[in-house]
Symmetry: C2
Subunit: 447 residues, 2 copies
C-alpha cells in the first residue's frame, strides 16, 4: 500500500513536469501488476498519458499492463490511442485477452486494428470473436502444447523447451492424428519416467473437457471442482481447440460474483463499465419502474381501504424507493471497496456518480408520482408537487447515506459489506420519513 | 448433470438394499469430485452411511472425498464417526485441510484425533492450528519443495522426482542455509538449461511473499494480481514456512464473496454452517433488532407530527421488517443456487428453514411491537395484538416469497439473483400492506 502511494505520487509528479524520459525509465522497472495497481489511483488523463508513453517506447510493458488492467478502466487507456499505435501492443497479448479488449472497441476500429496486426495473431483473434460472449471459446487461449500419442518423453521435453509462446505448460495434452484429445499428463510426470517412454503409456485418459460454447461460469465451476490448472476446450469432434487457464478462471469467478451482487441489488453489471450517469440510470430504470408501479398500486390499496388522508397513502412508496436506491449505492460501493476496484482515492468520484444517478431517477419518479397523485387521487397541484418533491429528496438522501457509509466504515476498518443490512435500510426509512414530513407534511391535513 | 443423477440414484438404491459391497465397488471407481457433487443430493443419513463405508474400507478415497466436500456439509459426514475411524482418513489429507476440518470439531474430539494420527502429520496440524482463522498460516501447506541455492539443475530434477508428497511442484523455491527465501523458479525453466547449472544462476529473485498472519483475502488478492499458482509464506526472519496454493486461493475467493453477500443481507456467514433455526435466527437478531428500534422510532415521529390514526403509524415498520427478512431469504437462496451449494433437490429443506427463521423472528418482533403499541402509544390490548400479528404475518409471507422465488426463477432458467431487486422488494411491501389491512385494518378507525 505504502509503495503504491509512492509510485502514484512519482508518476503524477513526472507527468506534471513533462519529464517523459524519467517517467519511462521509472515505470519500465516496475512490475506490471504493481503499475496496474497504481493506475487505479490516477485520473483519466494521467492514465492515458502514461499508457501512451509505454505503448510508443516499451510495447512489451504496455501489453503486460493492458492485460492486467481491470476491464472497467481500459477505455480510459485506449480512448486517445489510434489503431496504428494500438496494434503492435495488442499483438503481444494472448488472443483471449485481445478479444476481451476488442469487445469494447467499436466495429470499425476493431477491423482497422485487426488489419494492422500480424496475420497469425489477427486470425486467432478473429476465430475467438466468432464465439458468444461469456463462453469458454471467448476466454480460451489457442497457444497450448499438444503432442501426438507416440511422442517420446525426450521429444516432449524438447517441445516444452521450444514452446516459448505456449501458456500453462504444466499440463501437456496428447492428441491423435486428427487432433482429437486423447489424454493429459503433467510436466512433473515427464520427469519421473525413462526418456524413451511414449506419452500414451503414461498419460491419464480421464480428461475433463468443455466445449467452446460452454458458459464461462460452468468452466470455472469445473476447474474449481476438479482442482485443475487448465481446462481443455474441444469441439464437437473432440478436437482440441484451446485451453482455459486458471488465471482466466479466477477472473471469471470474481466477475460472476460481482455480477451476482449487482443483480441482487437490482442493477446490471454493465453499469459498472459506463461512466455516463444517464446510461447507469438507464440500467436501473426497468426494475425501479416496476417497483414504482407496485408502490403506486399499494397507495391505491391504502386509499381504498383506510380512512387515512390521501397524501399519507404515499408514505410506503416514498420510503421504499429511497430504500432501493440507498441499497444500490451501498452495494456498489461495498463491493467495489471489497474487490479493490474502488480505492479510497477515487471513491469521491463514485460517490458523486451514485448521488447524480439518484437525483436523476428521483426527479423522474418524483414527477411521475406527482402526476399519479393528481390524476389517480384527485389531489391538487401543490400536493402533487409536495409528494413528488418528497420522493426526490428521499432518494437523494438515501443515496448519500448509502454511498458514503461504506467509505466511512472502511476508513475505521469495519467491513463495508455491513452497510446494506437491516439497520441501514431502517436509517434510510427514517430519512424517507423525514423527507416526507418536511416536504409533504404541511399538506397532510389539507383534506 | 445427467450422470450425477444416475450416480445419486444408484447410491440411494444400494444403500436401501444394504448392498455395502456393491456400493463400495461402485464408488471407488467414481472420481472423488463427482462423488462430492453427488453427495449434495443425499440426505444426512445417506451421506454418513456412504462415507463411513469408504472410511472403513477405502481410506484414500474417503480422504479425497472429505477434502472436496463443502465445509457446510462436512459435519453430516463426521457426526457418526469415532476419532479412531477418523484419524487414518485425516492422516492422508494435506495439513491445511485437516486444520479446516478440525476447526469444526469440539476441543476434546480434536485432541483425541490428533493423538491417534501419526506424529509427523499431527505436529504439522498443531503448528497450523496456532495461527488465527482466516490467515495465510491457516491455509498454507507445509509440504513444499525448497532447495539450497547451490543445488544443480540435475539435483533439482531428482528432488522433484522424489517429492511425491509435495504440493504444487510447478514452482521450486530456493533458500539459503538458514531456510531464508532467496528466489523462485518454474519447473519449465529447469528443463531449458544445462543440467550442471546452479539454481541461484537461473532463479528469479523477485519473489512475492506473505506472512503467516496475512489475511487470507489479501493472499487471494495477491495471487490473482500477480497471476501466481502458489504464494510463499515467510516468517519475520524471511524463513519459508509454507505455501498457499491456487486451489486454496479459489476456495478463499468463493468463500469471501459469499461472506460479503451474507453481510450485505445483514446476516453472518456462520449462519450458513448451522442447521439450527434458533442459532440462525440468533445471527440475524442484532441487526434486525436495530432495524426494529429504528422502525418504532419512526412510528413515534409519525405519531407526533401527523394527524394519522395511531395504528397507521406502524405501517412503515411492518413493511420494513418484512422487506428485510424477505431480502435475506432471497439472497441466501439465490447465492446458494448460484454457487451450486443448494441443489434443486435439497432446496425444500432450505426454504422451510428460511420460513421457520422468519416465523420465529416475526413472533419475537411481533410481540415486541404489540408491547410498544400498548406502552408507547397507549393503545388497547386488542390493537396491540392486531399490530403485532400483522408484523408476524408480514415477515412470514415475505420469507415465503423471498425463499420460493429464486427457486422458481432457476426452474425457468432465469438467474435467481434478480430475486432481490426493487421489483421484489415492492412485492414484499404489498404483501406487508395486505398483512396490515387484514389483521390490523379493522382497528384502524378505533380512535
Amino acid at each position: 500500500m505504502k509503495d503504491s502511494t509512492i509510485l502514484v505520487e512519482s508518476i503524477k509528479k513526472l507527468l506534471r513536469r513533462g519529464a517523459a524520459v524519467h517517467l519511462l525509465n521509472m515505470i519500465v522497472k516496475v512490475r506490471p501488476a504493481d503499475l496496474a495497481e497504481a493506475f487505479k489511483s490516477l485520473d483519466e488523463e494521467e492514465k492515458s498519458g502514461t499508457f501512451r508513453l509505454l505503448a510508443e517506447r516499451a510495447t512489451a510493458q504496455a501489453a503486460a499492463l493492458l492485460g492486467l488492467i481491470h476491464p472497467a478502466h481500459r477505455p480510459d487507456l485506449l480512448r486517445s490511442m489510434s489503431p496504428e499505435d494500438l496494434a503492435p501492443v495488442l499483438q503481444r497479448l494472448p488472443s483471449d485477452e485481445v478479444v476481451e479488449i476488442l469487445a469494447g472497441v467499436p466495429e470499425e476500429g476493431r477491423e482497422r486494428i485487426l488489419s494492422l496486426m500480424q496475420k497469425e495473431a489477427s486470425e486467432e483473434v478473429q476465430d475467438l470473436l466468432e464465439y458468444e460472449e461469456d463462453t469458454a471459446g471467448r476466454i480460451m487461449t489457442t497457444r497450448f502444447l499438444a503432442l501426438p500419442e507416440s511422442t517420446s518423453v525426450q521429444q516432449a521435453i524438447a517441445a516444452v523447451q521450444k514452446a516459448q509462446e505456449a501458456e500453462m505448460v504444466f499440463y501437456l495434452y496428447v492428441v491423435d492424428a486428427h487432433g482429437g484429445l486423447k489424454g493429459v499428463l503433467s510436466l512433473r510426470k515427464l520427469l519421473s519416467v525413462p526418456p524413451s517412454t511414449e506419452l500414451k503409456e503414461i498419460m491419464s485418459m480421464d480428461v475433463i473437457s468443455v466445449h467452446p460454447e460452454t458458459d464461462q461460469e460452468e468452466v470455472a465451476k469445473i476447474a474449481s471442482q476438479y482442482d485443475l490448472l487448465a481446462v481443455p476446450v474441444v469441439d464437437a469432434d473432440n478436437v482440441l481447440a484451446g485451453i482455459v487457464t486458471i488465471d482466466d478462471v479466477i477472473d471469471v469467478m470474481r466477475e460472476e460474483a460481482t455480477e451476482d451482487i449487482y443483480k441482487l441489488a437490482g442493477t446490471s453489471d454493465e453499469e459498472r463499465l459506463t461512466r455516463s450517469t444517464l446510461k447507469a440510470a438507464g440500467h436501473r430504470l426497468p426494475w425501479q419502474f416496476a417497483a414504482f408501479g407496485g408502490g403506486v398500486l399499494g397507495a391505491l390499496v391504502i386509499r381504498a381501504y383506510t380512512p387515512l388522508p390521501p397524501l399519507a397513502c404515499f408514505i410506503p412508496v416514498v420510503l421504499g424507493m429511497g430504500g432501493n436506491i440507498g441499497t444500490q449505492a451501498a452495494t456498489i460501493m461495498a463491493r467495489g471497496l471489497s474487490t479493490g476496484r474502488i480505492s479510497l482515492r477515487v471513491a469521491g468520484g463514485v460517490i458523486f456518480k451514485e448521488i447524480r444517478i439518484a437525483l436523476l431517477l428521483g426527479f423522474i419518479f418524483g414527477a411521475l408520482l406527482g402526476i399519479a397523485a393528481i390524476v389517480l387521487m384527485r389531489l391538487g397541484p401543490v400536493e402533487g408537487l409536495a409528494v413528488g418533491g418528497s420522493l426526490w429528496m428521499s432518494m437523494g438522501l438515501a443515496s448519500v447515506l448509502g454511498a458514503v457509509l461504506p467509505m466511512l466504515l472502511k476508513t475505521v476498518h469495519i467491513d463495508p459489506a455491513v452497510a446494506t443490512n437491516p439497520f441501514v435500510t431502517t436509517s434510510v426509512d427514517l430519512l424517507g420519513l423525514l423527507s416526507f414530513f418536511v416536504v409533504a407534511g404541511p399538506h397532510l391535513a389539507d383534506r
